[in-house]
């Protein structure tokens, strides 16, 4: 476990280097084999582990060089899912939205090999990264289960099994992302029930990332989500979610987004540091984790590095300020 106050981390994905983007396109056209692609994914993973160490991040991620979409990656590896046709997400961006066509099951572990590989490259802790059951359902078509709750609970058992495998493989931090959790605020109880299935009995620190939606609509109920840490986009929202904590105090660890991942420009270190100070009004330094708002996969490698450097340098400034304050 990290010993720093204000431990720094990231949300999970990083931009892929050009050679990997090209290789993925070649593989999709049948012009590159799976083994060759995996070699390049491993190379890119090594590069990202090294970069994170050089930048000085405390808790690392594997960067998801081997994933495209955070739901499709799992859907492609689970029985019961089929990969659907192309659907537009915005502008000229399309994705293959998965279809739950039958009872879901997990033939084998889906992320453990990549966790073990990336952890073997560093002495710093690497997070195990999963997509939560509510988001897996909400971002898929459900043709198989009679209700949304039925589907979410079935998926929860699968994510639970994967989380347990990650823990057995040595993961000290397991992140179960639920960016869709506020899609239907009236279903927050289902998401909480499902997360209870996933995290029951885990001794690893559990984290859930939530972004892009109406967080106010699920607060304070979301504090009942059975994880140790909530990981929230804040910079993109001008930190307005912090105002909610005035009325209902925040009771978990908070991973606070202090740089916007959808802007090409990186915030200055001073602006990022101010974000941390805002968070400190509500959460103690040992429970506050500075990081970017969201996964950085839409940014270039250089932009990702700049954003992470801003997070680490801003944190150093605030740590120094805290060291000067008498206890």
């Amino acid at each position: 476990m990290t010993q720093n106050i204000l431990p720094t981390t990231t949300v999970g994905s990083f931009g892929k280097p050009d050679y990997l983007t090209k290789a993925r396109a070649q593989q999709a056209r049948g012009k590159l084999g799976a083994t060759e692609l995996e070699e390049l994914e491993r190379k890119a993973t090594v590069e990202w582990i090294r970069r994170q160490e050089e930048i000085g991040l405390d808790v690392l991620v594997d960067g998801e060089m081997y994933r495209g979409d955070m739901v499709a990656y799992f859907a492609e590896r689970l029985e019961g899912f089929k990969i659907g046709g192309l659907v537009r997400s915005y502008g000229n961006r399309y994705y293959h939205k998965p279809v739950i066509a039958g009872r879901v099951s997990r033939p084998k572990a889906m992320t453990v090999g990549w966790f073990e590989y990336s952890q073997s490259l560093t002495s710093k802790p690497v997070k195990g990264m999963l997509t939560g059951p509510y988001t897996l359902l909400d971002w898929s078509y459900n043709e198989a289960y009679p209700t949304r709750r039925d589907a979410v609970l079935a998926l929860a058992e699968i994510v639970r099994d994967e989380a347990r495998d990650l823990e057995r493989a040595g993961a000290k931090y397991i992140q179960i992302d639920e960016p869709a959790i506020h899609a239907r605020p009236e279903e927050i109880e289902i998401a909480i029930e499902a997360m209870g299935i996933v995290t029951a009995g885990l001794s690893a620190k559990t984290i859930s990332h939530i972004c892009y939606g109406d967080f106010a609509a699920i607060y304070p109920q979301v504090l009942d989500l059975p994880v140790d840490q909530l990981d929230l986009a804040m910079a993109n929202y001008g930190y307005r979610w912090l105002d909610l904590f005035d009325r209902n105090p925040f009771t978990k660890e908070l991973a606070i987004g202090i740089v916007d991942v959808h802007a090409h420009e990186t915030e200055t270190v001073d602006v990022a540091a101010e974000g941390i100070r805002k968070g400190l009004r509500y959460v103690r330094a040992e429970n506050l984790w500075p990081h970017p708002d969201c996964g950085l996969k839409t940014r270039t490698v250089d932009e990702c590095v700049e954003k992470c450097v801003a997070v680490v340098e801003a944190t150093k400034i605030v740590r120094k300020e805290l060291a000067k304050v008498p206890a």
């Binding site: 192309l86 537009r88 997400s89 915005y90 000229n92 899609a183 892009y212």
Partner: protein
């Protein structure tokens, strides 16, 4: 007498396979500077033409242009209205689909012709009855990310309504007899229903055949209020969530009801009997000539082949109700 069918909102812009993806390729090529905006416009027109043809071929009675040029519901006006700019991306209600939140920078000004060119083109193509569509004022105003001009939500909604009224008049002058006002905020934010009613009062003079189109959420909290809105038709989604609407449809006795019975957000294909079953339930309280069957919302939430299959079953279900022959 037949039970008529219609569509709502946007149709998938691309299909499976290379042939169906000309618009996607053209947008990439325009971004790389390989083709001009005029070349891209031709592709937009061709895809609009084939979309209208596809909706007509399914046997739908009242068609639209599929909104092929719209990036999202608010984009046509966020792009053209003075005083409004497209802002940050956000998820569109409970969908994993994004829209640009409008940013209000000054008074809203429009010449009312934002959609006239597209409607005129579609009118030249469509053989079936054609309707136009505009984003609703409550949705436009409540999904704004920042407002540097208006002092209140009320002022913003009413200003959006005045600008929308000008757009509807522009469409009417271009020959539009029916206009859908897509306004999911009316059911998503029922607390603003009285403000919405005031806004619709400003639209009422602009055209006679306006439809208030709601979706994603059931109308339960506002159903009787909607019945007194100054519009000719109300569209409601009876599939996305549980609803008591079927037992209360008599509230709409002087209106047309566009009943969203085919789920446009799930690939599971309804049977014709299922579609007919929803219609039969509605027909207990709505006369046949005042009922229209529709998808719940834009079919763009589905892959194109599924959207096509959904339209086929919509028409088949409607024909089943009246014993009409299904078109081959």
């Amino acid at each position: 007498m037949t039970l008529k069918t219609t569509v709502i909102g946007a149709y998938p812009k691309i299909g499976e396979g290379l042939d169906g993806q000309e618009l996607r390729r053209a947008l990439h090529r325009r971004d790389r500077g390989e083709i001009s905006d005029a070349d891209l416009d031709k592709v937009y027109d061709e895809v609009t033409r084939s979309t209208i043809g596809e909706i007509e071929a399914a046997g739908v009675d009242v068609v639209n242009d599929g909104q092929i040029r719209w990036d999202d519901l608010l984009a046509p006006f966020a792009r053209t209205w003075s005083g409004v700019e497209p802002g940050p991306l956000e998820r569109f209600y409970d969908n994993n689909t994004y829209y640009r939140q409008p940013v209000i920078t000054g008074p809203i000004v429009t010449d009312g012709r934002s959609l006239v060119r597209d409607f005129t083109f579609a009118r030249g193509v469509a053989k079936a009855q054609l309707k136009a569509a505009v984003p609703g004022p409550l949705t436009f105003a409540t999904l704004t990310s920042r407002d540097d001009h208006f002092g209140s939500l009320e002022d913003r909604v009413l200003a959006a309504a005045d600008a929308t009224a000008r757009e509807i008049r522009g469409l009417k002058d271009a020959g539009a007899r029916m206009v859908d006002i897509e306004d999911p905020a009316v059911v998503a934010s029922p607390r603003h229903i009285e403000l919405a009613r005031e806004a619709y009062g400003r639209l009422a003079d602009a055209a006679h055949a306006l439809a208030l189109v709601s979706y994603f959420f059931p109308p339960d909290a506002v159903l009787e209020s909607l019945a007194s809105f100054p519009v000719a038709a109300i569209a409601i989604d009876v599939r996305s969530r549980d609803t008591t609407a079927f037992e209360r449809l008599d509230a709409f006795r002087d209106k047309y009801v566009l009943l969203g019975v085919v789920d446009a957000r799930n690939t599971r294909l309804e049977t014709a009997a299922e579609v007919a079953g929803y219609a039969e339930r509605a027909l207990k309280l709505v006369p046949l000539d005042h009922l229209r069957l529709a998808p719940t919302t834009s079919l763009e939430y589905l892959p194109r082949d599924i959207a096509r299959a959904k339209l086929a079953v919509l028409v088949e279900g409607a024909r089943l109700v009246t014993g009409e022959k299904v078109p081959a």
